[in-house]
Subunit: 156 residues, 2 copies
């Protein structure tokens, strides 16, 4: 049963490595945020806009769980720092659409230089077939984490 033993070890190692990778991602994210002058809330909101595109203030409130007043303040800060723009909704003048300012975000690209280079070198070390496996894993792992986050966030 050497095959089984190998697999058990493998799974344990994956558990550990996955944990450490998550951890490293969190730390990196925090470090990048700090360098960009963003707090956690601001960072998460930008990520939200990155993933979902422009959102109204109300949508941001719903997604982040913040009170409307807090979202106004949040948008103020992000706008002041140049990361987003407020755009009036033509269909409904009450709404405020918050658009990410991609140019400004991109201007911090140098912060990621080392990271990007490292990743490219890493990818370069794999065959196409292996990269397909990694891609599949990343996508499904992200889905699982988002699902789990949803479960934790929905009050139970």
């Amino acid at each position: 049963m050497s095959r089984d033993a190998d697999r058990r070890e493998l799974l344990a190692a994956l558990h550990q490595a996955g944990r450490e990778n998550s951890n490293a991602a969190v730390m990196f994210h925090a470090a990048v945020g700090a360098r960009m002058g963003l707090n956690m809330t601001e960072e998460k909101s930008l990520d939200l806009l990155e993933r979902e595109g422009a959102l109204t203030a109300g949508e941001i409130a719903a997604r982040t769980g913040l009170a409307p007043a807090s979202v106004s303040g949040l948008i103020d800060r992000l706008e002041r720092k140049g990361f987003v723009r407020r755009v009036r909704d033509n269909d409904d003048g009450r709404r405020v659409i918050v658009e990410m300012n991609r140019e400004h975000v991109a201007s911090f690209g140098t912060l990621f230089a080392g990271f990007v280079d490292g990743l490219e070198a890493l990818y370069a070390s794999y065959t196409n077939e292996q990269l397909h496996v990694i891609l599949d894993f990343l996508r499904r792992s992200a889905a699982i984490q988002r699902e789990a986050t949803g479960e934790l966030t929905s009050q139970t």
Copy 2:
């Protein structure tokens, strides 16, 4: 050059998926922390203790960049919530060693149930060979992120 085209696409997809996976990890981490009654600083400190084992207050200060006074408060809070213990260092009575209370952390295991099940199912869908690739990727990716975090954190 269909091979090259495939690879270019693959790399672009990996870039995107990697980003989203990181993001999902950050969100999940934050959600777990919120459920455990921890703020970001407390979470990061526990992660630190997880990775490096027991640390003195001063070491925590050095690793987190917090002022000594802030670390005292941090340890107070973590201790009050049951996540760590203060232990006097026998070799040097001035030092305070902070140990993680693993039992208490483990008691939140149910929060991770969905996540863990999901991951197990995911891993089950791969061959040993594929898992080796994923393991290698996770480890090297974590190292790259830690390296990049270090670069960002060291004042430059």
